[in-house]
């Protein structure tokens, strides 16, 4: 039964190979929709990989974002790209779908690739491809070698984190790192999210897609799931203090709730779409920064919560951050300023 | 900028700065004056010019009595901007300050009613600021700084008219001067990297390096001379000068007589005497080729001048030729030649500015631009042509006008140094000068005037506007006087001898 001991490795090998295969196909399949679908699948497999590596916080975030906002974002973008791509095709295949035929109707063919081929002479392209291929292979080899070198047990900062864990206000090391030891990063990273939203809003107004009355079954689903998502988001915030979970994951779930609501035709009331929405969007950064700066007045360093209050401070920050992250992610999906 | 005043000589640090400020501040203010504010502008211009002249006079007296004037400002680690007024500086200072006053007067008259006068006078003042900066430079860095500033401030004057031709001339001018500035900078930094100092010293500061870095020094010398040689219009670097004639007459006067070419020539003096030291330069064997270049320039400029019909272009080539007298004087190693070169710095300035003033008058009053249009103009504008005649005679070297004095000393200097060929160069040049100038005089005085002048303007029956007339008369008279009374104290000749004794050939 010695082969049984190889099973975990086999699982990893299958996971790794699948990831690579999915990535390769997502990047090279001729059809864009297929690429996006493969990419979504890639996200799920990556989630499994994280689970396999015992990095459950990341698995949660990957699954929550991948299954929620990212996939929806990509699909929404693709559907908005679609009509022109169909127009761009010289002769749409009128015969309809065929399993063995490339360029299905409704699939977003990447006609640009073909155009590109005509720009440069074939020899030149081949040479370029060969050179690049060699370079990439060399880089892969180098990276692999370096990774190999790093493959010996090392505890990194685990010891330090565990030593200071009691002072951090939470019991889960990852949350302690995120919200206390390296809280500065986290604050800025919520700012990155907000920044992306401001950038998106600066580009366009919201498209009116998804405003048609939803199918009844969809409406029912969103009625069922939206409250559940709120509950689960709250749970993730709560559980983050001592187990995998936390503001990002919770915010991602909340964002997914927003996406679902939006998809089922729900719109923010006009009165809430102005500054109340903006307030919610900015809340995470504002509360985090406010608490981080206010502690200076208590003689603490920047973003240094007194140990006694750390637990509550982190909870407040996490709640605000969750709310903001959820609202930002949902707004990112909606796409334009309300 | 607050200068770090040397504590040892506190009272004397302000004068150099004031000399700078006397044209810098008026210039900056003038930029912001509206076009119509004629009197304010004139007041600022003349006030500045007079102030500067009196300050320079004060320093002239002081230096004569061994006073020190020095101001410095730290610029780089171990390097300062230094303004130091010495006898040599004063030679150039007096020339600039004096001629600036006259040119300003002339320009006020010349530019009456024309557009963009505020800009013009603003840059004009800045240009003079840069020139006096060059004159007072206490080290090579300072020299480079003001030299480049001169480039920048003259460019707007060259393209002032805003025509396509002016733009092209401006590009050519910049092309030359910027490349030159780059070479100058290269030589300067290289020298600094070798010598660790850039302070002008009366016998040069590189003698310690001759043994070890002979070829580097020669290269540096070439770079530096190329750098200043463009402005001094050494052949073959002179291409910009005739083209820059598109600028208004006061600008030409300034460029040719005072600011630009003189700064170049002055630079040659500084490099040979204060950077390398004339003995070291001679030992390096670089003075001979320099003298040769000067000689070639003298002859070539004269030859080219012969074939120009455009009056200003003829004068421009004349400048090319004449400025190299200074270089020749410097390159022929010896006290007398030095005196000749230095004195020519002033003499040529005074005489050439007279000629340009007159050419400007002819153009402005009668629309005359070409030599072939000058028949009988002496009768129409006798005073102008009188001044012109004095200038021309000086250029040829007819005694007792100033030019004679220069040529005399240059020739003696050559002989003193045991060289005969400078004599032939001088003689040949004088002949050529005569060949291209005397026909003008002949035509102007003895030919019949045409029925109508190309473009005559009426100045109320007078010859021309008084602001146009007086400056050439003054400079014309001056060229005569400094020639006649060359041996009195405080004349250029006396001063040049003082410099030679005090600085370059002190026992």
């Amino acid at each position: 039964m010695a082969w049984l001991t190889g099973l975990p490795l086999a699982v990893d090998l299958v996971l790794g190979t699948t990831l690579l295969w999915l990535a390769w196909r997502a990047l090279s399949s001729p059809d864009l929709f297929q690429a996006v679908a493969l990419f979504i699948a890639f996200g799920v497999i990556l989630g499994l990989v994280w689970a396999r590596l015992d990095t459950i916080d990341i698995a949660l975030a990957e699954i929550a974002l991948g299954a929620g906002v990212t996939g929806a974002l990509l699909l929404a973008a693709l559907s908005q790209l679609q009509p022109a791509e169909v127009d761009a095709r010289a002769a749409p295949s009128a015969t309809g779908a065929n399993e063995h035929q490339a360029g299905q109707p409704g699939q977003t063919a990447e006609t640009a690739d073909a155009d590109e081929a005509q720009h440069k002479p074939a020899v030149f392209r081949a040479l370029l491809a060969a050179v690049m291929g060699l370079l990439l292979l060399a880089a892969l080899f180098g990276l692999g070698l370096v990774t190999w070198q790093l493959w010996e047990p090392s505890s990194g900062l685990t010891q330090q984190v565990n030593t200071h864990l009691p002072e951090s206000g939470v019991e889960h090391p990852v949350t302690a790192v995120l919200l206390n030891f390296r809280g500065y990063d986290t604050l800025l990273e919520i700012a990155v999210l907000l920044l992306a939203l401001i950038g998106v809003w600066s580009l366009a107004t919201a498209s009116n897609l998804g405003d048609t009355t939803p199918e009844p079954v969809l409406a029912a689903l969103s009625r069922l799931l939206a409250p559940l998502m709120i509950l689960v988001a709250a749970y993730l915030v709560w559980v983050g203090a001592h187990a995998p979970g936390g503001a990002f994951q919770a915010g991602s779930v909340l964002g997914a709730a927003g996406v679902l609501l939006r998809l089922s035709g729900w719109r923010l009331p006009a009165g809430a779409a102005g500054w109340p929405l903006r307030l919610v969007l900015a809340l995470g950064v504002a509360v985090f920064a406010f608490i981080g700066i206010a502690v200076i007045g208590l003689g603490e360093p920047l973003l240094g919560y007194p140990t006694a209050w750390a637990k509550h401070a982190i909870l407040v920050i996490e709640l605000a951050a969750t709310l903001s992250i959820g609202a930002i992610l949902a707004s990112l999906f909606i796409g334009g300023r309300p | 900028m607050i200068p770090t005043v040397d504590a040892n000589v506190p009272p004397n640090a302000w004068l150099p700065l004031l000399v700078l400020a006397s044209s810098l501040l008026p210039g900056l203010i003038i930029f912001f004056l509206a076009e119509r504010r004629y009197w304010a502008r004139t007041l600022l211009n003349l006030g500045g010019a007079l102030t500067k002249l009196s300050l320079v006079g004060l320093m002239l007296w002081g230096v004569y009595h061994q006073q020190q004037y020095e101001a410095s400002l730290a610029l780089l680690p171990g390097l300062e901007l230094v303004l130091r007024v010495r006898a040599l500086s004063l030679l150039f200072l007096v020339l600039s300050a004096g001629l600036w006053l006259l040119t300003t007067l002339y320009a006020i008259g010349y530019l009456e009613e024309s557009p963009h006068r505020s800009r013009f006078f603003g840059f004009f003042s800045l240009c003079v600021t840069a020139t006096v900066g060059v004159a007072m430079a206490g080290n090579l860095l300072t020299f480079v700084v003001f030299f480049e500033m001169l480039t920048l401030t003259t460019y707007p004057l060259v393209v002032h008219r805003g025509t396509e031709e002016a733009r092209r001339a401006g590009q050519v001018y910049l092309g030359h001067t910027v490349i030159a500035g780059t070479l100058l900078l290269a030589g300067t930094v290289w020298l600094y990297a070798l010598a660790g100092t850039l302070t002008f010293t009366t016998r040069g500061f590189v003698d310690g390096l001759v043994e070890t870095h002979r070829w580097s020094l020669i290269a540096i010398f070439v770079l530096l001379i190329l750098g200043v040689g463009v402005k001094a219009a050494l052949v073959p670097l002179h291409g910009w000068l005739p083209r820059a004639m598109v600028a208004p007459a006061p600008v030409s006067a300034l460029l040719h007589a005072v600011a630009v070419v003189k700064a170049g020539a002055f630079g040659v003096v500084l490099i040979v005497y204060d950077v390398f030291g004339v003995e070291v330069a001679a030992e390096l064997g670089v003075t001979g080729p320099l003298a040769l270049v000067a000689a070639v320039t003298i002859i070539y400029g004269s030859l080219r001048a012969l074939f120009q019909d455009n009056l200003k272009r003829r004068l421009a080539f004349s400048t090319v030729s004449q400025v190299s007298y200074i270089v020749l004087g410097v390159a022929v190693v010896g006290p007398l030649a030095t005196v000749g070169g230095l004195v020519h710095l002033v003499h040529q300035g005074v005489m050439k500015i007279t000629l340009f003033f007159c050419a400007g008058n002819l153009a402005e009053t009668l629309g005359i631009h070409d030599v072939s249009e000058m028949n009988g103009v002496g009768r129409r504008m006798p005073w102008t042509m009188l001044a012109f005649t004095v200038g021309v005679l000086g250029m040829i070297g007819v005694p007792p006008v100033a030019g004679f004095v220069s040529k005399w000393y240059l020739g003696l200097g050559g002989l003193e140094a045991g060289l005969h060929w400078p004599l032939f160069v001088l003689a040949g040049s004088s002949l050529l000068n005569a060949a291209y100038f005397l026909p003008i005089l002949h035509a102007a005085w003895f030919r019949e005037p045409p029925a109508a002048w190309p473009e005559e303007r009426d100045f109320g029956g007078k010859e021309t506007a008084w602001l146009l007339l007086w400056p050439p008369l003054v400079t014309g008279a001056l060229s005569l006087l400094i020639g006649l009374f060359a041996s009195l104290p405080f004349t250029p000749l006396e001063w040049a001898q003082l410099i030679a004794e005090r600085e370059f050939y002190q026992p």
């Binding site: 009844p216 509950l231 559980v239 | -």
Partner: protein, 181 residues
């Protein structure tokens, strides 16, 4: 169309209980979690109730379900979903594929509202059938057009109606339900 207060309160209470249970499940019954969870349970319940009532009409379905009927429905569903799973798995492995699919219309007798949705969802999990609500009808895709899918659908509809106490009288009276597409 108006929502009566008691109906609202009843619905809210139901949901509060449900979500509280859920919270308990999620947090593994830890006590200190209860306080933290309370506001969220409440808000989730309120949200759920409000969305439930908004734009919805059905007075009938506002009443609590009949527990016994619900149990029967669940049992029915579980059994049929087991059958459905077996059915489709067996078909998947057979060669050649034992498929005679067809798309048919099944006119619903349930009134519009949540019940047709439940119906459609359950149909989709039952053997050989897959449904889409389409303007008062179910469009049903069947794997085997010769099977007795019709009887199953009727029985399912019946049970759902029972759970929600929908009178037969209230049913849409369109008796003919055998039209092939």
């Amino acid at each position: 169309m108006t929502v009566t207060l008691p109906a609202f309160v009843t619905a809210l209470t139901q949901r509060l209980l449900l979500f509280a249970l859920l919270w308990w499940l999620l947090t593994d019954g830890q006590h200190e979690a209860a306080l933290f969870g309370a506001p969220f349970v409440l808000s989730a319940a309120v949200l759920s109730t409000v969305t439930r009532f908004r734009g919805q009409v059905l007075s009938a379905s506002l009443w609590p379900a009949r527990p016994l009927a619900l149990m029967r429905l669940i049992g029915f569903f579980l059994w049929h979903s087991l059958r459905g799973g077996f059915d489709v798995t067996l078909r998947a492995f057979r060669r050649p594929l034992p498929l005679k699919p067809d798309l048919i219309d099944y006119p619903l007798r349930l009134p519009p509202g949540p019940t047709p949705i439940l119906m459609a969802s359950l149909v989709s999990l039952m053997p050989g059938t897959l449904a889409v609500i389409c303007e008062g009808r179910l469009r049903v895709h069947v794997l085997d057009r010769h099977s007795d899918w019709h009887r199953d659908l009727e029985r399912l509809e019946q049970r759902i109606g029972d759970v929600y106490r929908i009178d037969r009288a209230q049913w849409n009276d369109t008796p003919n339900h055998s039209d092939h597409n």
